[in-house]
Amino acid sequence: MDATSGTRTPTLAVFKLASCDGCQLTLLDCEDELLALAGRVEIAHFLEASSAVAPGPYDLALVEGSVTTPQDAERVHAIRAAARHLVTIGACATAGGIQALRNYADVDEYRRTVYARPEYIDTLATSTPVSAHVDVDFELRGCPIDRRQLLEVITAFLAGRKPDVPDHSVCFECKRRGTVCVTVAHGTPCLGPVTHAGCGALCPAYGRGCYGCFGPSGSVNLPALIPLLRRDGMDEEATVRFLHTFNAPAFDAAGRESRPSEEGVAK
């Protein structure tokens, strides 16, 4: 099924829920390809780039951000209803993002502590990925997403094929890139062995450990990694923090899957 067959130009829409805009910026960052892209799709809704919006339905909707308010929970259904293909972009839309740390805390207490008029704040107790609310056609990971992968997803959509987005570990990319492993050669804790590839193993290439911004890979063995993090100097609190950053609920779920008897990642 070629999305571009027929005479009509496919429409692209970009929506934002609770997020920092970094993933949408990645689209604007595709400078060299933007012209070609603009020639191939009609950008019907992309507030970051233009305030002119065309009504749906849209052939491809990219959704950034997580669901944190009752309004967003409704909106995401409207977006789904208007989109032939819905692709989430980034850790927020795909796993709840950094703001999902609230899932482990008391949001009412935050509200009372932080805001002078807490009653102005209308928020949900949790930050959840788009897939918790509606069906999603593809989830692109990363905080932020990788621009080559975004182009691959859009290009694949235009060609009517499956995007080539491998779900193996970051270590694959790290070795392909020829980086010296920071764990083995320097004793630096690294989440690469359990993290979804996609960034090209950016952090280890600059001498620091992967901090898991692409979330869990397709094959996670957290109980095998945690003793290594401990060995490399992380105590329990540091380990929990390490795993509870951009994709906390996703790593928690991966931890439960790899050892069902345990709760959470670092117990």
Binding site: R40, D164, D167, H168, C171, F172, K175, G178, C181, V184
Partner: protein, 399 residues
């Protein structure tokens, strides 16, 4: 490569080694050799022999690599770096062909004809000479040769560095090799550092090696240097850091498909794929189709893959090897057993890279020893049971 009647030998000093790199470069060769980068001895293009890791050794263990100064100032006092020569000969990503669609709909295909560098590899360890021979067999030996590999390989000049200081994760002797370069090299160097100075005992292994020796300053080999060189390589045979059990590994692995040990190692294995990426014989690739936004240009690329990737065994409905157990077992069984069935030999040369560069420190020699112990402990009972039930012991069970 011509085998010579009388072995041509010589002794080079450090200036001779400098000249060697200069001559190779002036011949238009890309000289690749060991050099220090990011706290490790990596393989990279050398612009001069001064970039060799003079004075650096390595301290190795399972899952651990540390660069340490070595007092004698040797250039080749290291082993098991994070890369191997396959990074050059069998690169991690390579375009195979591209296709273009003209406005009239006509599609043309273009085979990739990338410029092939003329490599000279300086400091190839004997285990890696064997690993190159293994990959030659795999990638060019069958009906479907990898032409890119073949081109790069044919043009490559191999200068070996024999081992006098094996690493703690080395086990080439028990893998059927040894620290001496026997065959497959153009020039073999043995580094000697003693009261008579820092020098390299050189042996030509081919016509190209002999011609190369002629062009660089050297002296004829004196007996003392030759004896010291040969004795220290011999002595290295007994200083292997590790060893595989001296049993028929092909049979052991073939008979261990249902071993409990696989569950034990699967608990520790991250399925991260590092072992296969660093292994100098692992050759697996996948293909990737790259299209551009216009849809009129498409390219096929080949990139390294690994049996630890779930996608690697993906058939309809999902991966055949979904558990960590089945993927680790695939890796080890392929290396030591089914490789014989496929390519007539072992897939492991005992370089120790998979041990050193496994973040979890999983040690192939330890796993094989445990499988052997389990096999010994259970084989009597097994055989009786198998005979009693008339069962086939080579059943592959997926857990």
């Amino acid at each position: 490569m011509t085998v010579t009647d009388a072995e041509v030998t010589a002794v080079l000093d450090r200036d001779g080694l400098d000249a060697l790199v200069t001559v190779l470069r002036s011949d238009g060769r890309t000289v690749i050799g060991p050099t220090v980068r990011d706290g490790a001895i990596v393989l990279a293009e050398l612009s001069s022999a001064a970039e060799l890791p003079y004075g650096w050794g390595v301290e190795l263990d399972a899952g651990r690599y540390r660069l340490v100064p070595c007092e004698d100032g040797a250039a080749f006092a290291h082993s098991a770096g994070p890369q191997s020569w396959k990074n050059c000969l069998h690169p991690q990503r390579e375009r195979l062909w591209s296709a273009d669609r003209a406005p009239d709909g006509e599609v043309t295909f273009t085979e990739e004809e990338a410029a092939t560098p003329s490599y000279a590899f300086l400091g190839v360890r004997p285990c890696d000479l064997r690993a190159i021979a293994v990959q030659d067999r795999v990638l060019t030996g069958g009906r479907h040769a990898d032409t890119g590999y073949g081109r790069r390989r044919r043009g490559a000049l191999l200068i070996a560095a024999e081992c006098t200081a094996p690493g703690a994760t080395c086990f080439c002797v028990s893998a059927g090799g040894g620290p001496a370069a026997d065959t497959g090299y153009d020039l073999a160097l043995t580094e000697v550092v003693d009261e008579d100075g820092h020098r390299f005992f050189a042996r030509a292994g081919s016509e190209a090696g002999r011609r190369l020796l002629d062009r660089i300053p050297h002296r004829s080999a004196d007996l003392a240097t030759e004896v010291t060189a040969r004795t220290s390589v011999d002595a290295a045979r007994d200083r292997m850091g590790r060893s595989l059990p001296p049993v028929d590994l092909r049979a052991l692995l073939g008979e261990s498909l249902d071993a409990d040990r696989w569950d034990d190692v699967a608990e520790r294995c991250l399925t991260c794929g590092n072992c296969t990426m660093v292994c100098p014989t692992c050759f697996c690739t996948t293909t990737e189709e790259v299209t551009d936004l216009t849809g009129d240009h498409s390219e096929r690329w080949q990139r390294w893959d690994s049996c630890f990737d779930l996608d690697f065994s993906h058939l309809h409905e999902g991966p055949v090897r979904s558990s960590g157990r089945s993927r680790y077992r695939q890796w080890l069984t392929h290396k030591l057993s089914t490789w014989y069935d496929q390519f007539g030999g072992s897939g492991c040369v005992g370089c120790g890279r998979c041990i050193t560069w496994c973040p979890a420190g999983i040690d192939i020699t330890e796993e094989v020893a445990a499988l052997h112990a389990e096999h010994e402990a259970t084989s009597v009972g097994h055989e009786t049971a198998a005979a009693a039930h008339g069962t086939e012991r080579w059943t592959e069970t997926e857990r």
